[in-house]
Symmetry: C2
Subunit: 267 residues, 2 copies
C-alpha cells in the first residue's frame, strides 16, 4: 500500500487518454499528469532531443514525490525509457510493452501493422519488441504524422481525415494485416473512423487501455497500490498553458480536468 501519487507524462495532452484509462481501472490512485505542451510534439524530433526533454519531465514528476512513473508517450517510451530506467530508482513504465503484449495475446496474430509518429516508427522499438517475443511475425510500420494534427483540429470525422487514413492504411490493408497497433496516445479518438475504413477482421490494439492494465499489475506486484478506500485525485500540469490546450485536455480526458497549472521545466 502506498498513497503517494502516480506520475504520468506525455509530450502534450494525448497522454490524457492513458490517464482516463488509469482512472477507470484504478479509481483510488492520485495522479499527477505533466504535458510538455511548450515543446510538443516530440514525434518529429531527434532521439537526443527527446531524451533530454523526457529527462526534464521525469525530474518534474519526481519533485512531486510520485511513487511510480508512466511514460504516456510512445515516442518518449521508444527513445528514452531504457535510459530513464537506468538513471532513476523509481519504477518507470512505458506504453510499448503493454501494447506489444496485448497484440500478441491473440495466438492467431501473424501480420501486424503499426501506426505512429515518425519518431516512434524510426526507433523500431515496437518492431524490435514484437520480434523478440514471437518469431515469424510479419510487421509493417507506417509513420502517420498527419493524424495528431487532425485529431487536435477535431476533424476526426471529416472527409479529409478519411482520405488521409485511406492513404496511410491502404498499403497495410493490402499486405493483409490482422492486427493494427495504435502506437500513439492520440489515436484512440480515431477508432470510430478506423472501424469504418478497416476490414472487419482487423483487430485494433490501442496503447492507452493496455497500458493502464499493465500498470495495475505492476503496482500490485510491487505493493504500491493506493488504499481502496481512497478517492483518487488528478492534478494536471502543462508547460504551456492556453485556452486551446485546456479545451483539448477536456476532449482527451472526456471528463472535467479541474484546475490546470503551469509547469516550469528544466530549471
Amino acid at each position: 500500500m502506498n498513497d503517494a501519487p502516480l506520475g504520468l507524462f506525455d509530450s502534450g495532452v494525448g497522454g490524457l487518454t492513458v490517464v482516463r484509462a488509469v482512472q477507470d481501472i484504478l479509481p483510488s490512485e492520485n495522479i499527477v499528469y505533466l504535458g510538455d505542451t511548450a515543446r510538443v510534439p516530440y514525434g518529429s524530433k531527434s532521439p537526443e532531443t527527446i531524451r533530454h526533454f523526457a529527462d526534464e519531465d521525469v525530474r518534474f514528476l519526481l519533485s512531486k514525490e510520485v511513487k511510480a512513473i508512466v511514460v504516456a508517450c510512445n515516442t518518449a517510451t521508444a527513445h528514452a525509457l531504457p535510459g530513464l530506467r537506468e538513471q532513476y530508482r523509481v519504477p518507470i513504465l512505458g506504453v510499448i510493452e503493454p501494447g506489444v503484449e496485448a497484440a500478441l495475446a491473440d495466438p492467431q496474430c501473424e501480420r501486424i501493422g503499426i501506426i505512429a509518429t515518425r519518431g516512434t516508427i524510426r526507433s523500431h522499438a515496437y518492431q524490435h519488441a514484437l520480434a523478440q517475443r514471437r518469431t515469424g511475425l510479419i510487421i509493417h510500420g507506417q509513420a502517420t504524422p498527419l493524424l495528431v494534427p487532425l485529431v487536435e483540429e477535431d476533424w476526426t470525422d471529416h472527409e479529409a481525415a478519411r482520405l488521409v487514413l485511406d492513404s496511410y492504411l491502404g498499403p497495410l490493408v493490402e499486405k493483409g494485416i490482422d492486427t493494427l497497433l495504435l502506437a500513439c496516445t492520440h489515436y484512440p479518438l480515431l477508432i470510430p473512423m478506423l472501424r469504418q475504413i478497416l476490414p472487419a477482421d482487423v483487430r485494433l490494439v490501442d496503447s492507452a487501455t493496455t497500458c493502464a492494465e499493465h500498470l495495475r499489475k505492476e503496482l500490485t506486484r510491487l505493493d504500491l497500490l493506493a488504499p481502496v478506500e481512497n478517492q483518487g485525485s488528478l492534478e494536471i500540469f502543462l508547460s504551456d498553458l492556453s485556452d486551446e490546450f485546456e479545451a483539448l485536455s477536456r476532449r482527451f480526458l472526456r471528463r472535467p480536468t479541474g484546475r490546470i497549472r503551469r509547469a516550469i521545466l528544466g530549471s
Copy 2:
C-alpha cells in the same frame, strides 16, 4: 556599408522561404539562420511562451554579431516583435508589416482574407495593422492549423490537401475576398494548389517575398547593406538536428543548404 551578417529566425524551417527570397534580391549578404526545431511549432502555443522562445532566439543571433534581425515567423512577429524592439538596440524587422503593405499596395483591395496559425490569427496583429492603415476594409481571419503539417508531409498536391483547403477557404471565398494574405512562411509551397482552388481574381500576397523587399529598403535606409562585391554566405543553425529537418530545409530553401549545425538555446 556593413559586412556583418543578417540574422533570421523562425520556429522551424519555414522561414527558409524568407531566406530564399532575401538571397534572391540581396545576394551579397551573409546570412545566419536559426530554426527552433526543438520547440517547433510556435503557432499553437501561448503568447507568453512564444515571447520567451523568441527572446532566446534573438540572444542566439546576437551572439553571432548580426547587424539586423528578421523575425521570419508570423507567430513570433505577432506576439514578440514589439517587446523585442524595446529590449534590443539592433534593428529588428518582422513579416507582418511588409505583408500588410503589399496587400494594401493595390488601391482596389477591400476584402482581405488572412490564413495563418491559430496563434497569429488570435493575436489580431494582421487585422490591427490592416485596419490602422485603411478604414473600411473587410477582414476575415481564418486559422488553418493543418496546413503546416500537410506541407511538411509533402502532400501539397494530395487530394486530402485539396479537401482541407476547400474547407478552410470556402467561407472566405463566399465572403467575396479580393486578396488572400498567406500569413505563414510555410504557405508559399501551397501556392500552386491555392491557384487551382481560388477564383482567378483573388490576389495572393505572401509574406516571404514581401519581407525580403522590405528588408532591402530598410538596410538601404540604415546604410547597412553589404558591399556589392561580396559573395553572400548562409549558415543554418537548428535547435534540433535530424535527417528529416535537413531534408525539409532543402525543400524550403530549394537549393543546397551547406552544413547545418546544432544551436543550443537558453543557456
